[in-house]
Each structure stands twice: as C-alpha cells, then as structure tokens.
Amino acid sequence: MATAQAATRTVPGPPGKGPLAALRDRPVLAKILSLLVIAAVAVPLAHARWGGGVWPGALTVDLSGPLGDVNDWIIGNRDSHPLFLYFFGHISNAVVLSVRGVYLALLALGWAGVTAVAALVAWRTAGWRLALTAGASFLVCGLLGMWVPTMQTLALMVVAVLASVVLGLLLGLAGGLSERTFRVLRPVLDTMQVLPAFAYLLPVVLIFGIGVPGAVLATVVYAAPPMARLTALGLRGADAGVMEAVTSLGATGRQRLLSARLPLARKELLLGLNQTIMMALSMAVIASVIGAGGLGDRVYQALSSVDVGAALAAGIPIVLLAVVLDRTTEAAGRKIGTEPTGPAVLRGARGWALAALAAAAVAVVGRFTGGRVWPEGGIVAIAGPVNTAKDWMVDHLYTGIPVIGGTADWAAHFTSWILNPLRSGLQGLPWWSVLLIVAALAWTIGTWRTALTAVLAMAAIGVLGVWDLSMDTLSQVIAAVAVTLVLGFGIAVGAARSRRLERVLRPVLDVFQTMPQFVYLIPVVALFGVGRAPAAAAAVVYALPAVVRITTQGLRGVDPAAMECARSLGATSGQQLRQVQIPLARPALLLAVNQGVVLVLAVVIIGGLVGSGALGYEVVFGLAQGDLATGLVAGAAIVCLGLMLDRVTQPTARRQRKES
C-alpha cells in the first residue's frame, strides 16, 4: 500500500517541460510558493505601516458606541413603539399561549397518561423494547421529584421544535429548489450554528424580556439550521431518474414537489427532525439563564447553591428525554421503506388508533386513581448520596496521590506547561503571521475560497478589537482539542476492535453528550480548581463522545478485504492499524477532528463560568450586566474563530459537496 502511494507521488511531470509544469503536479507546493510570494510583498508593507505584535489599533472599529445606542433605543421604545406593539408583542403572546396550551394539556393527561402516550408512541415507531425504555424514563422523572419541571420543559420543547421544523422546512425548501438561495443560505446557517447561544440570548432578552418567549425564540435560532440543511440536502439529492419520469408524466411543479421530491427526502427530513430535537434539548438549560423555567432552571438554581446532587436530579430527566426522543425518531427513520411486520390488527392507522385508545384509557384511570401531579410520597431523593459520592471523590483525587499526583496537580501542570506557553506563543506572534499561517493551512487542504474565508474571519476578529482575547481562547481550544483527539482516538481504536467495549461505551457516551454541562461544572471545579484547566476538562467531556463515535465508525468501515490482505501478509496488529486502517479511514478521522473543534468551541462560554476568562467570560459578562456591546462583540469573535477553525480543518467535505 504505502509503496504504491509513494510511487504515484514521485512520478515526475512529462519530460521536456519546465519547473512550472512540475509545480502543477504538486499543487500544495505551488500554493505555498504563491503564498510566500504574496507574503514577501505584503508583509514588509503591512509591517512598515502598522508594525508587528498585536493587531494594530488603526485597523480596529469600536462598536460599543452604536451598540450601546441600539440598547438604549430598545429599552426606551419597548413599551410604546409600533414595532413592538404590533409585531414582537404578538409573537411573544403567541409563544406564551401555545406553550401554555401544551403545558395544560400535559398536566390534564396526568402522569399516567403522559407515560402511557410516550410508551405507546415509542412502541408504534420503534418496538416494545423502546416502549419500555420510554415508559420507565418518564417514571424516573417522576421518581426524582421532577414531574412538573419535566412537563414544563416538554411543553417548551414541543413548541420550539415545531417552530424550528416549520422554519427549517421553509428555509430548506427555498434552498433545495434554488441553487442561488442555497448559496446565500449556507453561510447564514453556518453562522446560526456557530454563534454561541449566550451571545444571542442578550438581544433576545432585550426585545422580548426574560421568560419563555425569548427562550423559545433563542432555541429556534439554534435548532432550525439542521432541519433546513437536511431538507435542502434531501431535496437536492432526489434521484434524477425519478424526477425525469415524474416530469414526463406531466406533473406540475407543486405536484412534483409534493408527490416525488418530499417523499424521496423522507429519510433526511426525519434525520433533520432528530437533530433539531437534540439541539433544542441542549438549549433547555442555557435558556434557563433567561428565565425559561423547567428542568434547566432547576439545574441552574442548584448550581447557585453548589448542590451537585440537586443539579443531577434535574439533569437526569434531560438525558432521559434526549435518549427517548433520539431513539424514537432514529427508529422511525430506519423503518422508512421497510415492510410492516406483526399481526394485521396492529398495522398502519388501525394500530395507531388502538394505541390512542389505550393511552386514553390509562389517562382516565390515572386521573381517577392517582391525580394529575406525581404523588409527593413517591419521590426518591438522590441529592444526598450524590453529594456524598462527589465529596469522597474530590477528597481522594484532588491531591496527594502517590506517583501520579492529584487532579489539582495535573490541572496546574496542564496550565503552566501547555496552556501558558501556547497562549503566550499565539499572543506573541505578529498579527500578519497569524493570518499567513491560517491562509497556508486552509489553502493546503482546501481551495483559495476556503483560505480567503478563514483569513477574513481572522481579520474580522482583529477589526472588532478583541485580538488578544481571541488568541487566548484559541490557545484553550487548541489544547482541549488536542487532549480530546488523543483520548478519543485511543478509545476509538479499542472500541473498533471490541464490540463488547463499544456496547459498554454507548450509554456512557450518550450521557456525556446529553447531560447539561451545568451539571458537571461544580465537580470539574472541585477537581481541577478555578481557571482554564477545568474549562478544558468540561470541553473534553462534551466533545469526546462525537470524536469516539465518528472514529470508531470510520475504523470499522475500513474495507475488510484490505484488512484481510494485510493480515495474510503477516502484518502485526499495530502495523494493520497504522498502515491500513488509519490511512483508509482518513476522511472519518478528519471529520472527527472537525467535530472536535466545533464542539470544544461550543463549550467556551460554559468555560467562562469556571474561570477560563477570555471571550467566554466576556459573553457571560455581557449577559449578566445587560451590556450588548461587550457580549455581542465577543460572541461575534467566537463565530469568526469557529468559521476559521472549520475552514482550516474540514476541506474534504466541502469539496465532496460541490461535486454532488
């Protein structure tokens, strides 16, 4: 394998041509050379004009004035301006009314009714095993004493997910049917997803005030992009042959859309729904910062009295909701196109009617026997034992373990040996060299377009006047991503080899991925102290599952023939891994790197809450002090960092997308 690759790489250009032709065969070298030429001209000019070091003051724009004015205008006119009276006010009312409607309906069903509905829906879409899980999950929510908050969160989720799906479908339709709209839409969707949720909580709060309307709208902004993206993808990927046939039958545009394109895209649509639900749930806790109520609020309140046990009691229902909703929609997606099974009575509409009847019966019986709200006596208090366990763990791991040292020592070493040099290195680099490095990285693995986007994003950070803070954040992101990748690849290699390990890992990864980060903030601080190290730890916990999953899948997906071949040639298992599996799984590994970066960046704000400083702190500060200028500028800088890192780490997917 390796020799064959090397051979193709060293094939020289056709004889008799000059060095330019040779360069054409080695595009990377050509790109680097032309970049060097540009740099040789531009750098001395820039250096003479603005100097090296940090971003020059002459090239920054101070937005605090205008943003402050916007802030004041909104507060001054919120109660009287027609824009608020006739537009935002009605949106706000509509959200409140719909959430209230769903909430009252859930309460009216009672705990028995809700549990039955959940179990029966899960049974119809995914079979009896998941039905058991769903039923049990709702009972656990009640047992933990979280029934009412769970219903509040569920009501909020139902409305937010419905709104996201409608908005996503509309955007996706527009993008799927028109190439131009798609091109305009893509950067918008990118931005909506990379923008840290905290950054737009602030404008949303300014306009709608704290409470449910703002929370729902912030959730929609965050959760609609995957739906839009996947809808567009599904519509664009419709089989050309089928479309041709439908057109030749004389179908109108609308008929073609409704009878062919949308049904063909069902799988993508369901995947979009699945993603939207997961994103919306992950906002449940963040939205509690602006008074959304429900489970998120319980987690947040427990946090303020440093009560990990209580936070966990409210966090578990979020995890359970996520697991149940994820598995149900996933199963529904898998079932599409397969033949119905089971006895005839239970198929199709008749099965659903039966399920509805059963649910109604349970609800009525439940109302008459148990009442609407979970009984006070049926609550298991887990907060005490959890806190004891956490205290024990902290007492024994914090410091003074022989040889390996305690977690506090690791944190200190990580900060002073890795984070500090990295930060001073990045902050010490002249600003133009950072731009050059970004350009070189993005261009070598992508096109000149991706390189340009990356460089412009980086320059925007400078222009916004937060260069130093952004370099600080960047150093934290790089360090956390490195740790995530080392751990993630290690675990994934193990999981790819042993099905049993993979099975054991799956629920653990689920919990890591869906547990609200607020829950593990306190344990993380208790173990690693205040600062950038606990922030990095929280980021690793959050990003690890995705990296492990993608890498495992990539390594597993390697062509068995190639593995067999290597084995028969007598390769040791280490050689197989290094020389066959890893090279062949390259696309998956790159995707894992990219996801690692994006997810770590998503925790930057949470890091601000445990002392990571830099951009994360600024965004949290903006929200706490109602300071639109600070919060929004820092948020914009995080978006730019995200865009840059995405472009620098993920060229292949983009190229493939262009080809398709």
Partner: protein, 327 residues
C-alpha cells in the same frame, strides 16, 4: 381559467383566515409588552406573584421565606424566575416579575426606571446591609496578622501564586454579574496581583471550600452577608478607606474600599398599586443579616430545599414575620 381562479381565491381566503385566527388568538390590535405573564403561572382565578431570584444564596433565602408566607398565610401561588440583577430590573419594568427583594445598588437602572419611566417603585430596605471586600481565610490571618492590611499584601504574593496568575499573586473574583472595581484597585494601588475571575459564584465557592479543606492561603473578592463565613471563617483585608469623592471617580481610577450598602427591595409600579395583600406584605418584609444567614446556611450547607429551610425559620421566629402581615 376558472380552476385557477378558484384556487387563487381559496389561497387568499386561507391566508385571510389564518391571519384572522392569529389575531383572534393573540388579541386584536396592539400587544402590550408590559403585561405578559409566564405560561406556567397558575390557571385563572388563582392569585399569583412572580418573584425574581438572584444566583446567590442570600437572595434565595429572602425569596424562600417570602414565598412560603405568601403561599401559606395569604393564599397566593408564587412563581420564581432566576436572573441576574440587571436583567431583573428589565423584567421588573416589563411586569414579567413583580418584585426583586435584594438589590445591591444600580444607580443607572434606578434613574432610568424609577425616576424617568416610573415603571418601578422602591419597596424599601430589606434590613440587611451588604458589604463587598477582599477576604483572607481566618486560619491564615491568625498566622500572619499583618496580611489584613493591603499595604502588606505584596509580601504574600508569592504564597498566593497559582497556575492561572503566573508570577503574580492571585486575587480571585467571582461572577461577572457582581459589582467589582478589583482590576482598577490592583492597578491603582500598585499591587503585585492578578485578578482571576472564577466566572460564577458556584465556581468561586467550590474553590474556596477546596482551599479551606487543605488549609491553603487565598485572597478573594467576597461579600457579606454570606453563609460561607460560617463554614470557612474569613477576615476582611483593610483597603484605603471609602469616601464618596473616591466612589465618584471614573471606574478605572477608583482606589478605595467598597461602600456599605443597605440592600433594597423594588416592586413593579403596577403591582405595587394593585398587588393587594402581597404587595403590602413585600413592602413590609424586613429582617436582619442573622435571620438571612440562618436560612442561607440551611439551604447551602445542610442542603435543605429552600422551602424546607424557610419552613423551619418561620416556625422558629413567628414574632418577626407576623409583623409583616399587620395591615
């Protein structure tokens, strides 16, 4: 022709109908942004009060006791909304929240909402006096009594070094929602310290508890009244004396201690007028630091639920709270 026209008509009527439905649902005409309750508030004909809770435990204690009395004695249903102070002012003016029981002094907001817009009214003193300062643990101050004066702080900078503060001493600050001049103070007093922001009160408390467990020295921005003093006794470091002239300087030039603030209650103006028993009660709510700490300690240290903690306090101190109900 005819078919397309019917279809067009159908479509228009559908649009008109849905627009009409939206208006009918949301109420015709203007929507008042200042009158929107929470969707989770109790169903009709139950009296409700919405209180804002801030992230520190003292604020939770006020609210827990007020909630319990409102519910048990006056028959209200109480909704809680957790927010930082500045957003809480915003919410008060919009009527999303009826009252805030502990404000640490926000002159800008006071001027805008109380004096100019008149959407918020003062609810009087809480009875608790707040004070912000720099604190060191008692076990450390006992060994080095001179550490309690800012002039000697530089001598101890080495002992307070952490990975985060580099070659300087660490002065730990808390949540971004707190009023702080610490960066200016360190600069203007020429101290060899670096301000490290814990980012949230929870993180700060956890770190202090951890230091205390190991009897390690630390220097932290902290405030009174606070339950943590009962668990980790701390001594205040003397800063240059507070004066109004110094407080009036630009934020970057401040070089004196923090003031002592009688904590204030604020009510939504409309609620204050029409809030009936609840508004009258909240205006009279007035207790001491000792009372507040007693409840806070039960919540944060003994890990009782706020409701239980308030219940115990109410049982023990009928003389205090019965007065708040007198008309």
């Amino acid at each position: 022709m005819a078919r397309t026209r019917t279809r067009a008509r159908l479509r228009t009527s559908a649009i008109v109908a849905s627009a009409g439905a939206l208006l009918a649902v949301t109420g015709c005409g203007a929507a008042d942004m200042t009158k929107q309750a929470s969707p989770f508030a109790a169903p009709a004909d139950i009296k409700t009060v919405t209180l804002s809770v801030q992230s520190w435990v003292g604020a939770q204690a006020n609210v827990a006791v007020a909630q319990k009395i409102l519910e048990d004695e006056l028959g209200y249903r109480v909704d809680l909304v957790q927010t930082d102070e500045v957003p809480a002012w915003d919410a008060l003016s919009q009527g999303r929240v009826d009252a805030m029981l502990e404000d640490w002094g926000h002159p800008d907001q006071e001027k805008l909402y109380v004096k100019d817009k008149k959407t918020i009214v003062s609810g009087g003193d809480l009875g608790v006096t707040g004070h912000i300062g720099w604190y060191v643990p008692k076990y450390w101050a006992d060994e080095h009594p001179d550490v309690t004066n800012w002039k000697n702080l530089d001598r101890y900078a080495d002992e307070l070094r952490t990975a985060e503060s580099g070659d300087k001493g660490q002065l730990m600050d808390g949540s971004p929602s707190y009023v702080t001049n610490d960066k200016a103070l360190v600069k203007n007093l020429g101290l060899d310290y670096k301000v490290v922001f814990a980012g949230s009160e929870a993180a700060q408390i956890t770190q202090m508890q951890q230091f205390a467990k190991e009897k390690k020295p630390f220097l932290s921005y902290w405030y009174q009244p606070q339950w943590l003093f009962n668990e980790v006794p701390m001594v205040e470091v003397k800063l240059p004396e507070y004066s109004d002239a110094c407080a009036a300087k630009a934020p970057a030039d401040i070089d004196c201690a923090y003031p002592t603030t009688p904590l204030q209650k604020y009510l939504n103006a409309d609620f204050s007028k029409r809030g009936g028993d609840a508004a009258a009660f909240l205006k009279k709510f007035h207790w001491s630091e000792k009372d507040q700490n007693e409840v806070s300690e039960m919540i944060a240290s003994e890990r009782l639920s706020p409701d239980e903690a308030a219940g115990r306090w109410i049982e023990k101190h009928p003389g205090t709270w019965k007065k708040w109900l007198d008309r």
